[in-house]
Point group: C2
Chain length 397, copies 2
Amino acid sequence: MPRSVGSPGRRDTLALLARTLREHGPASRARLAVLTGLPKATVSTLVVELARRGLVRVAGRVELLPRTAFGIGVEVRLTRVVATAVDLDGGTRLSRQAVCEPAALRVEEVADRIGWVIAELSADVRAAGGWVCGITVVAPGLIDTEHGVVRLAPRLRWREVALLDTVAARTGLPLELLALGNDANLAALAEHRADPVPDLLCLVGDHGVGAGVVADGVLVRGASGYAGEVGHMALEPLGPYCACGRRGCWEACVGFDALLHAVAAPGDPLLDPALDAAESLAVVRARASAGDWRALDGLHRIGAALGTGVAILATLLNPTAVVLGGYFAALAEWLVEPVRAEVAAGPVAAAAVPSVRASALGASAAGAGGALLALERAFDDPARSGPDHHDHEEAPA
Amino acid sequence: MPRSVGSPGRRDTLALLARTLREHGPASRARLAVLTGLPKATVSTLVVELARRGLVRVAGRVELLPRTAFGIGVEVRLTRVVATAVDLDGGTRLSRQAVCEPAALRVEEVADRIGWVIAELSADVRAAGGWVCGITVVAPGLIDTEHGVVRLAPRLRWREVALLDTVAARTGLPLELLALGNDANLAALAEHRADPVPDLLCLVGDHGVGAGVVADGVLVRGASGYAGEVGHMALEPLGPYCACGRRGCWEACVGFDALLHAVAAPGDPLLDPALDAAESLAVVRARASAGDWRALDGLHRIGAALGTGVAILATLLNPTAVVLGGYFAALAEWLVEPVRAEVAAGPVAAAAVPSVRASALGASAAGAGGALLALERAFDDPARSGPDHHDHEEAPA
């Protein structure tokens, strides 16, 4: 298929070699030459460079070293900041978190907490013998990945927040080490790594609904990084009012609040605002498991409304797999079947029904996706990813 | 961004070099080495191979030769079969057509007509000094690109038609020379070549509505090649009945029949089934140009309904540009503005409003896209694209 090919240079041949090693495992230089199409002499030169950076070991065959370059993903959630580190061969995963309520803090205070978990996790990475080659800050909402700005994240009460600049200013971390990403997009990236089907649609249920799309192995980001903002698709002209002021937005039909209202009786303690999301979820699960008809009926209606939207997206994108994450995954026993039914009844139907399943990655998907994206820097530019490139010791703790 | 990288080999380095020449124009071997990241000696070897195939000329600098390899796209429309040939540097375009009504013919008879226009056009290509390196048959509907089967094309009255096998059997053309593609997807490809923004959404209005999506420079095909089948997105639960049996499908709201009904008074001669589409379109244009309020009101409602769907797709995909093709382009003066208004009022709104414009390629977009896809074979595998590889003289006329 046509592709606008940029102008590759030495960076790209290094990246090509590094990726080939990740995908094919240890291989001889001769085999690497066949796999990459590069001349054997070029492969040898590149291998020397990767070895000098400490990324590969050469013992007959060339192999990626584990616990060398790590990527970090730091997710800003409503009730905590969670950092996840993943190493080059994906075999090691480390994690740290700071419990806090970002919506109640100033952005600088959130940036400080981001800095703390990064500093702690960077120390863990060094203790494991590795170094950090990149950091992705992960947030919900409309994320301008190019400028590192959270354009709009209603639940965090953020609008036009220059998050990356703030993090860089408060932590002293160099901006070129940092990237910003949307939670659902990065969850899709992690799901794709866990189950690399070519075409994957990931839907993350939270207070809103986010989507991440992988098409032919590549994350669809959109012109401004806003792809996957499906929460306000107008699905029901006469549906419930949405926080955005419109009616019948998808997330007004299937967001977490819609779930609680679908499942609860009037005056139900489940609607007590003092209950946190994890507690509410546990109550819903308990009721559904006990066969409570109102809970089962509510879950079925949520599943059907979720399926209506999934059918539209599946018709447009023709994915191999649809993965349900966030609270959808936590209630998968009751939601997956109605979604499957709606998708199977959809227009493309018999021709190309995608599989529908719950995420196996749980709440860490977006953070892990952020770490993977950060790691891509090591692949895209292995020359920049050596242990001496950034001195993380100097990140303020 | 992460990408599942296949294992490139010699083919890919040849393709890389050919693409680089197309994108950057004539260049020295030294410059090509810089642009591709390949060693200079490798570039020299590859240039010799491309020259041997007659694809490049070396005169100090290396340059792609015009009128060498051509791709052909053959589009099966309701009232004709149209073939378009495009050469490697895009500077030459040739065309042939056979007027017929495929829905009234047996598939074998359609395949014969496809063979005729290919034979005529191949002769034109040879007369221009070139050769044909690939042929894409283009059809509307649900197209299984992998197996060369039209799964469902209601207007052609086709279901499970093994079109490529039939064309190969009737024409003697080798199957490996042939590919099958969906009209809207290939129109998107041609639009993208004409205006290479990274993220493009193309909507083609006909009796149905088809979409083609280019994300980050790559056509989104979906797992089975069905991506872009947006005609049956359920937009209005209480909307008009669709030919598919559901209500409120997008194409029931904005397909060509919906346009005619929106514009016409009861008993209006515009609704006479004897009128062909071009004549009806001319009448609609004439009335709207004359200020006929019913025509203007109908067009505005169609534009708004088109915009509602575009806003959903734009929210998911965050394209740079939305291009309206097919009958939407023919009525652009009256449709583009209401679409813009709906998109601007959509959820992503201020953050990332794509441009909305009519296609400048007209009805030939899908055929040209098919030719470009066929040409990609020359880029993907220049070794296969020499003039001696297939003997098109033997294609039956």
